[in-house]
């Protein structure tokens, strides 16, 4: 009987919150993001305390170039927008369009991650600026790396649920899963806006 209730004739307008399990997931994930906020706030605080402790190594002014970071920001901001489109199509019960927009989101995320790896490679090979070169280096790679790790995890997560549900389409069991994955993606985007401001903009001014 549970399969019937999860595949109703007419999908509700908010399929992610139509079941108790969905409501629980939705609320629980918001709470989780609250905890994640404290996690990143702690990392930001640490970074702010140590950002001038370059220990004779390269300073943030010497390292950061805003062009690359601007492109990365655009990629991630756009990916947040495309995931909104995906959720819009989920609410219209248009599974195919949702998958397409999620696919674009993943592609943009991969682009971001590629640039970030290039950025780290560049710092390490041209400036010998590493995780171990100074407290500033440790704080920089930890904060930005934690964010990058979140991006990677989010990509693997979205790809997994896209592949898992590719054949069977949308139902009330997997709609909350898509929805909270997109929430996670927005959160990653918001954190990046703060990284862009606090690390890069404040770092070159």
């Amino acid at each position: 009987m549970s399969h019937d209730t999860l595949n109703p004739e007419v999908m509700p307008s908010e399929p992610e919150k139509a079941t108790l399990e969905g409501k629980n997931k939705f609320l629980g994930f918001w709470f989780f993001l609250g905890g994640e906020t404290v996690l990143f706030a702690s990392l930001f605080g640490t970074y702010l305390a140590l950002r001038n402790s370059n220990n004779g190594g390269p300073t943030s002014e010497e390292l950061f170039g805003l062009e690359l970071v601007f492109v990365m920001t655009m990629l991630l901001l756009t990916s947040s927008l495309t995931s909104v489109y995906a959720m819009y199509h989920m609410k219209n019960n248009d599974f195919r369009k949702m998958q397409i927009w999620l696919g674009i989101t993943v592609a943009l995320g991969l682009g971001f991650l590629g640039f970030e790896i290039y950025e780290f490679y560049h710092y390490i090979h041209h400036y010998e600026f590493t995780f171990r070169s100074s407290a500033f280096g440790s704080a920089f790679y930890t904060l930005v790396g934690f964010h990058g790790g979140h991006v990677l995890f989010g990509l693997l997560w979205i790809i997994t649920i896209m592949a898992r549900n590719a054949k069977r389409g949308l139902n009330l069991y997997n709609a909350p899963k898509f929805y909270i994955a997109s929430l996670y993606w927005h959160f990653i985007d918001v954190v990046w806006v703060f990284i862009f401001t606090v690390v890069y903009l404040m770092g070159v001014i």
Partner: protein
Amino acid sequence: MSTTTAQRTGFGAVLWDYLTTVDHKKIGILYLISGGFFFLIGGLEAMAIRIQLIKPENDFVSAGFYNEILTMHGTTMIFLAAMPLIFALMNAVVPLQIGARDVAFPFLNSLGFWLFLFGGLLLNASWFLGGAPDAGWTAYAPLSTTSPGHGVDFYILGLQISGAGTLIAGINFLVTIVNMRAPGMTYMRLPLFTWTTFVVSALILFAFPALTVGLFLLMFDRLFGSGFFNANMGGNSVIWEHLFWIFGHPEVYILILPAFGVFSEVLPTFAKKRLFGYTAMVFATVLIGFLGFMVWAHHMFTVGLGPAANSIFAVATMAIAVPTGIKIFNWLFTLWGGNIQINSAMLWSLSFIPTFTLGGMTGVMLAAAAADYQYHDTYFVVAHFHYVIVGGVVFGIFAGLHYWWPRMFGKILNETLGKITFWTFFIGFHLTFFIQHFLGLMGMPRRYWVFLADQGLDTGNFISTIGAFLMAVGTIVFLINVIVTTSKGEKVSGDPWDGRTLEWAIPNPTPHYNFKQTPLVRGLDALWVEKTEGRKEMTPAEPLDDIHMPNASILPFIMSLGLFIAGFGFIYQIDNISWLLAVFIGMGITLGAMFVRSVKDDLGHHIHKEDLDKGAGL
């Protein structure tokens, strides 16, 4: 899968049942057993500390070993004993108090438990692998970053894993209390224990990530060559203190608020009166939780943050005495004019009030920043936090266990043995710690291995150790009580105390599905409302129907085991790079189990209404 009428027997079946269970009642029992086990280990460590300090310049243990048992006593008692014992009570009671059939995330509930247990085992494995952590439970840098051996590494990885479990448990209870309440169970009808669980879960959610980050930074410094706390690389060790106490101060409220909740259940039940000032109690709880985040620097008065910062944190700290005082008076007024029945649960609750008030008073003394320069790092501080943590949390756990034992196990703990436990433990506690206030004021520093003779410290330390032995006797009698009650105790009704709240509206033993029909809540003290109107049980809010229940799963155990293996890999890769293999294997197991969880549908099962009368799910 649809019914669970088949009787499972045999040790293997029971073991498998508990390894895979997602039932909050069984998870509560798992928390109780493991928390109790770690409480005994932490108690043994405490005894070793007190025996070492029984006389001047004693050599019962070596200086290095003393540092290890001291560190592990604090760490074990806070993270591996007090927290899980509180989670045991929460799991056993909260879903019942709100009229729910389970928690919001039964799978995560199980995961939270196994992460805690494997984290605790990893931490304690250090005893057998070259020595335990020795930098104090606060692990201040640079002492912790330079401590030789792997002890502190076990501290970092063990707490990281068990801390993740705690965070998960916190989110689970938050969502459970918001979304799973029975019809009519409004927020202002929630029993106080559920309210404190709610506030505590929010504290966990916002406090533990700070510890997570602190532990990561410490791990990077020790194991991967970063320089967060290393002044030679431009690092700053005070960052650790901030992160630790941003977590650490809310942590003490995470521990004490559920105990407040227990007393707020026990006192009305045995005074036969409703809780005095329910609304004030709720707001005091929320206020304490809120203020708990504003005061962390009172642990850092002597760091040199400056007079402005010290004054602000001093005033904020003293402000917490106001909501706490509200609670103390409300408990007293609950007792006032009540039809008081004295039993073990009540003895622990009554003795808590003066004991905790003493601890609160020394707390206000310590909050005076200028005076704190004198108290800091002396036995005065040791006495203070044992008065609030033993006199508050441990008393609360004992009260809660006596009160809810019939709900958890169907039998009432033996009263004679319960009273022997109480009096030996209570007298032993005050003998141990009251004198320590004066030892501290006379200048005895905390954490020292030995003290010198003829400095006025001999008698006080001797008395303190005698008291510790009395507490040990009390604990042993309690263990005997558990064994005697389990083997000889008589089964009682589902409502042995003439209770007021929903958990007493259920037959004994509690059915797997808790409530056959979800109850309709019509007021504060839901069951009492029905009783005053002459009914014996709750009015159902729904017709009898099929009951949806979650499926058991071994995945939480496997995920936690994977992190346990990876933990060893992280610790030893610094000696030998091939240990990275253990990291990859362990993380592979965990991520693989997460992948399986993500792609394999878990829709739960139904107990059919026709089978309910045949005893399905009992």
